[in-house]
Structures are given as structure tokens and as C-alpha cells.
Symmetry: C2
């Protein structure tokens, strides 16, 4: 599909190009392509759902990710099937694995008067592309730090970094942010005018992912208190 067919905004500074894959057929007005929004949604989550094709069928697995600039990183065992398919140091080039990486934050339950208009408020980002194994050792280390810091900012440097054995067992794959879109729904229900007087409660139940009081592991070394970066994680 050519750009002219998509009905989406032209590429501009600070925006991802809209493609046939990133322009939705439905709720097109909710699709966004600006980098700042995409980065913000990506940076306030740590869990993505990674889709790929295996034996012709789709597979969707939850996994952690990190972001450095316009690159996302996902890691796993060198024994994992999808990461092997993304190519690796041992087999050279890394032919790459077509993936779709999706991040969704739910912000509210939207209860309309009509069942039909029930919805969610949410922010989501969908990234299409080809995941490729990272073979450069410096980039691998930086990516692993980014994944840990994505869970809790500041954590990577306050942990024992991967040793040679662990690095050898870890596959890191990279997905460039190129064919990307965000989708956002906010606000109240969109009931039809003729339904507004119906005797049903209608509105939004706010939803948030909240973090509780950290629970220390058994056998912490003496004198290890809760680090400052974790006080910020509690909300």
C-alpha cells in the first residue's frame, strides 16, 4: 500500500512513517506516529508481547524489553527457539526473525450505557520489524543493562553484571523502531445521543499498575537497606 493510500499523516520530523501495516483499518483517528509519545509508552512499561511465526502459525509470548534510542532489545536463552531463529554469533550473519512487538497499558474501564460502546482507555505501541541477534559484545552488555534498568531505573549498576558464562548463555536481539505506531484512547464513554437518558450508570473506572512495598529476599547481606531507586518504584 502506497503512502497516499493510507490516509495517515506524511512523515515529518519526530514522526515515524505510516505504512500499510501501521495504519489501522479501524479507529484510525486513535493512531499516532510521533516519536515522543511512542517512547513515553515504551518507557513506562517493561513487559511486551512478542509475536513471531513458527511453522506457519503465530506465537505470542510475554517478555521483558529495553530501549536505547531507536532500538528495542529483548533477551533470552541462546536455547530458545525464536531467538535461535533470529540468527546468532555461531551462524554468522543472522538472517533475522520477522516480529511484531506490542506494549499495552490499560488506563481505564469505559462503561457505556450501551454494551456496544464498552471499551478500554489505554496506550499501546505496535512495532513491526525484523529482530536480529546482537553479536557485538559491547552492545550486548549495554542492551542487558538497558533491559534491567527498564524494570527499575538505576538497578543495573547496583547488581552483579553478567559474567562470561552468563553472557555466553544469553541471546540478545535488536528490533529497530521504524515501522511503529501508537494508539491511545482516553476520556469517557461514546454513547449514542439517544442512549444518554437510559437508566444505566456510565463512566470510567481508572486502572493502574501499582507497585507495593518491596519484600527483601531471605539472607540479604547484613546492613543492606532498601535502595533509593526502589522508593521511587513504589506508587
Amino acid at each position: 500500500m502506497s503512502e497516499a493510500d493510507t490516509g495517515a499523516p506524511s512523515p515529518e520530523a519526530g514522526a515515524y512513517r505510516a505504512s500499510g501495516r501501521t495504519v489501522p483499518t479501524r479507529a484510525r483517528e486513535r493512531a499516532r506516529y510521533d516519536r515522543e509519545l511512542v517512547h513515553r509508552v515504551l518507557d513506562t512499561s517493561y513487559l511486551c508481547h512478542l509475536g513471531f511465526v513458527r511453522d506457519g502459525a503465530p506465537v505470542v509470548l510475554p517478555t521483558l524489553y529495553g530501549r536505547i534510542g531507536e532500538r528495542l532489545y529483548v533477551h533470552g536463552s541462546t536455547g530458545s527457539r525464536p531467538l535461535r531463529a533470529a540468527g546468532g554469533p555461531r551462524d554468522g550473519a543472522g538472517r533475522g526473525l520477522p516480529v511484531c512487538l506490542t506494549v499495552t497499558q490499560v488506563d481505564g474501564l469505559v462503561l457505556a450505557r450501551s454494551a456496544f460502546h464498552h471499551s478500554l482507555n489505554y496506550h499501546s505501541v505496535v512495532v513491526h520489524g525484523v529482530a536480529r541477534q546482537v553479536t557485538d559484545e559491547a552492545e550486548r552488555r549495554t542492551a542487558l543493562d538497558a533491559i534491567v534498568d527498564h524494570i527499575v531505573p538505576g538497578r543495573a549498576e547496583d547488581s552483579r553484571r553478567a559474567n562470561a558464562r552468563e553472557l555466553a548463555a544469553t541471546a540478545v536481539v535488536r528490533l529497530d523502531l521504524d515501522e511503529v505506531s501508537a494508539k491511545v484512547r482516553t476520556g469517557g464513554p461514546d454513547d449514542d445521543p439517544e442512549d444518554l437518558a437510559l437508566p444505566y450508570w456510565s463512566g470510567v473506572v481508572p486502572v493502574a499498575l501499582t507497585h507495593g512495598t518491596p519484600v527483601p529476599a531471605d539472607g540479604l547481606a547484613p546492613g543492606i537497606g532498601l535502595p533509593g531507586y526502589l522508593a521511587g518504584a513504589v506508587s
Copy 2:
């Protein structure tokens, strides 16, 4: 892959059969097949990530779902590309769309002393199968109620049900629970023994999806108070 190859438990009453697709290559000990657990995970979420293949590439989209017994239901516009691919009333048989439907609940951030052992506590369910359009009108209505009640139990009957025009615009697809697995991680960090004395805080930050105080829509009909079923949604 034959059953004998999987290393997974044999089928038993109350368990889904393990298949080549539902036995993970990694963290095999975390995979579960019992129906009660699968149902519980499915029933305490309302958002899934639905994966399918379009033009040979994977697509993963967030969407709502409902469950009735051993069937999951997803709905959307009759104009949406994946739902059209699942076949419909107008084109008869409904050839079906291979999908992977994944539901993930994050329960905690697991901060180990070593970066390598950082993890999440979570419950997830992965369903592989073929989604087919539902053409029976009674099943379509029951499925739509199930999707609304999945967001907030008790809500469907306290809303205006879909009229003929809305029903005609809504595609409902069904995915049978057959090739299904759950994965669960609980507990603290799995640090290596030689790392236990390292001077890094280690433990679990609990994570939960919480629901705030419902915000009424503008222009509620007079005298409509907060329904009882919403008091339960607030946590």
C-alpha cells in the same frame, strides 16, 4: 512432536493435553496444563494479546475477550482485517484464522543480586488454535454478554444490549480451549549460592493492577447511583 518427546505430563482429567507448541523449550518446570489454573488466569484478566499472521508476517494486537466454559470469544468490527480473515456469515463456512491468544498478569518485579537472574513474577496463559466466526445469533449474543461481563461481572444485564444494527456491525470469533498452557513464576530471586553475600539489595516488588474510584460520565440520568457490582471492582 509426539507426546513422548515433550517431557510433559500425560493428559489427565482436568488437564489440557501438552503439545509440541505448548511445551516450552525453556523454564519447562513453570508450564502448567490444569484447567482450573488456566480458567483462573483467564478470568482475572480482560485484556489479551491476539497474534495472527498477515501477509506472512506476525501481528499482535491487544483486545478484550470473554470466556464461556472451554470457549474464548473475541469481538470486533466486521470491517477489521483479522476478523474478516476468520470468515463470516456472508462467506459461509468460515475457514478460520490461526491465532495465538496470550494473557499475562504481572505479579512482581524480581530483583536478584545478579543482573542475570532478574525476572518477573507472573501468571500467563497461551492458547493456540483456529479462530472461527460465530454465526449463530444466540451464541453471538451470549458471547457479547460474556465479553462485557468479563470486564465487570454483572455489567451486561445493567446496560443496553446490542440492537440489530450493532449486532450486524459486530464480528464475534470463537477460539476453543484445547491447545493451552499456563506459565507461573512465584517467589523470590534465584540467585546463585556464590552471589548471596554480595552487597546488593535483593527481593520482590509486588505489582498489581488496581482499580480506582469510578468517575461518572457527564449527563447521567437523574438518580443513577454507583452500581453494587462496581464497588467490587475497586481495589
